[in-house]
Symmetry: C2
Subunit: 147 residues, 2 copies
Amino acid sequence: MRKASPDPQIEARRREPVPETVDPAIEALVHDVIGKVADKWTMLILEALHDHGTLRFTQLGKAVGRISQKMLTQTLRQMEKDGLVRRTVHPVIPPHVDYTLTPLGESLGAAFCGVWIWAETHHAEIQRARASFAEREAATSRLMASD
Amino acid sequence: MRKASPDPQIEARRREPVPETVDPAIEALVHDVIGKVADKWTMLILEALHDHGTLRFTQLGKAVGRISQKMLTQTLRQMEKDGLVRRTVHPVIPPHVDYTLTPLGESLGAAFCGVWIWAETHHAEIQRARASFAEREAATSRLMASD
DNA sequence: ATTTATACGCACCAAATGGAGAGTGTAGGA
DNA sequence: TCCTACACTCTCCATTTGGTGCGTATAAAT
């Protein structure tokens, strides 16, 4: 059942190089930014602040869901470094700290909006895709077993 | 210089609960999807396939940049499970495997488009923000030292 | 006098992530 | 006859991530 004869179409694509479209320097920068930003906690905090406007530390933690204080602090610091959030300390006792998005963070939140909407729209499809993948996998292993 | 008297505005926000806006069940689902998808390699592979259409394994690796074979395989498998990519095996020797986005993956790529554009537009701002954060940090530590 | 509330910092530990390098199977070319 | 191409898989190892629990300062409430 093995097809070992070379398909001419495939053969044609054999030594075809990777088509380049954009400047590699820009690519590197964008990849770096994506690397920093494409993090679960960053995205979730971004969403929470985008939705609620201004939140305090513990409120933010509850809004995000199951995040540890450590990760919350860590991610917020990184986001502050990147200029995405503004941290306001009110020198009262007990301490009171407010977090809010900067215009830059706000614009990123807006850019991510499409992704939230996608997730809300398509999560059912993903679940179906997973089920059918599991199905195919099971079928394959049945084939292997009867080999 | 410490202001310990309670600010009435802050006091008012003291026991204010986190404002809830959406159904927590939907939230949980979306967070789950985001958790799966908000991964550096997933986003980069998604971008590469969105740009180039169909790519083979090694081409894809080069298009993404510095990714190890292990991560490439692993991430592709996950994306296949989630129904984002279609994997086509041509039974020839040497092996030939094509990867392409499914309609679902294509729609996610479109949703992420806004984020690529954001990254391209704002990476200079991020770098400036980082510099000014470092500046402020240095100023703070100078203050601490002269304390 | 004791507790509570807040926003952390720190130390320790487990688990996940990710990279490097070697191995695999086989047809066709040097 | 040996080498190369391709798309992996596997093992070993280092780094990173993330959680838990404890400590802290201090005013107000009990």
